[in-house]
């Protein structure tokens, strides 16, 4: 059975790494988690992003966070990517599969996945 003692082991392992990570986080990924986002399927998108960012070893430069209604409910689930010195990228109608691709190509590879951006849907 899982015991809280195991958490203490995780704690000991994490402490060193967290010190290294201070002051980083060049890329901020934000998921809309208001009623509109949740109803449209934001929960699996968020959980996929959190999982893939960690598994791809990107935790040091990418932070994933949640926000309220972004104001474009018809395009939910919406994911915004903020990177210092670059224009914000807004991904719309997201799914867990698309999220995986965005971690791979954009967050890891530096290439915006144009076909999932709001620009591609509006044109």
């Amino acid at each position: 059975m899982k015991s809280l003692a195991e958490l203490q082991k995780i704690k000991a392992n994490m402490k060193q790494r967290i010190v290294l990570r201070e002051g980083s986080g060049d890329i901020r990924v934000v998921v809309g988690m208001a009623t509109c986002g949740i109803a449209a399927g934001a929960r699996p998108v968020l959980n996929e992003l959190v999982k893939d960012v960690s598994e791809e070893g990107l935790s040091e430069k990418v932070t994933v966070s949640q926000t309220g209604c972004i104001g474009i409910c018809q395009y939910e689930p919406v994911v915004e990517v903020f990177e210092a010195g670059k224009e914000k990228v807004t991904y719309v109608k997201m799914t867990a599969e698309k999220a995986k691709e965005i971690v791979e190509k954009h967050l890891k590879g530096g290439q915006v996945v144009e076909e999932y951006t709001i620009g591609a849907y509006q044109s």
Binding site: M1, K2, K11, I18, A39, V53
Partner: protein, 191 residues
Amino acid sequence: MKELSLNILDITENSVKAGAALTQILIDEDASTLLLTIADNGSGMTKEVLQGVTDPFYTTRTTRSVGMGLPLLKLAAEQTDGWMKVESIHISDDPENHGTKVEALFHKDHIDFTPLGDVVSTLLTLIQGHPDTDFLFRHSIRGGEKEVEVHMDTRELREALDDVPLNEYEVIKWIEEYLNEQYNGPEDAEE
């Protein structure tokens, strides 16, 4: 909403936004009913706000004029011949003992009952987004073939973790296994 667990996520986000230090999410099931309670110690609502809160055209947002969280939960409960109740004490009325309690009763055998769905995923999402807020979760299923008693209190986890944030991915993964194990029993009995 496709699953009640999504309503739970949505309503609990309101508790966090109301500044709750602790939000309790309690699910009590017997053979035919499901009682959901979400109780927080946030700022609470004034009587005027409380009156309008189940009206689908009411919202605290100023950007647009429709807030749907509680009306959607009310609809989900009432369509099973159940009910939803909201009680709230605003911080200005009682600075010591304030907060909001939402209760909803569902009849599980009704054809319009929305399944509970992935409540573990809802809890992980809440902890990921709000690592500094505490959640107490309890789910008991009785009177059926399988009796289940699931418990999670982030205050206990926080104590074990010291100052390691609850939303570290390794911690989130551990919490997922911790909850799944309580629902399904340990995966490997020899571990």
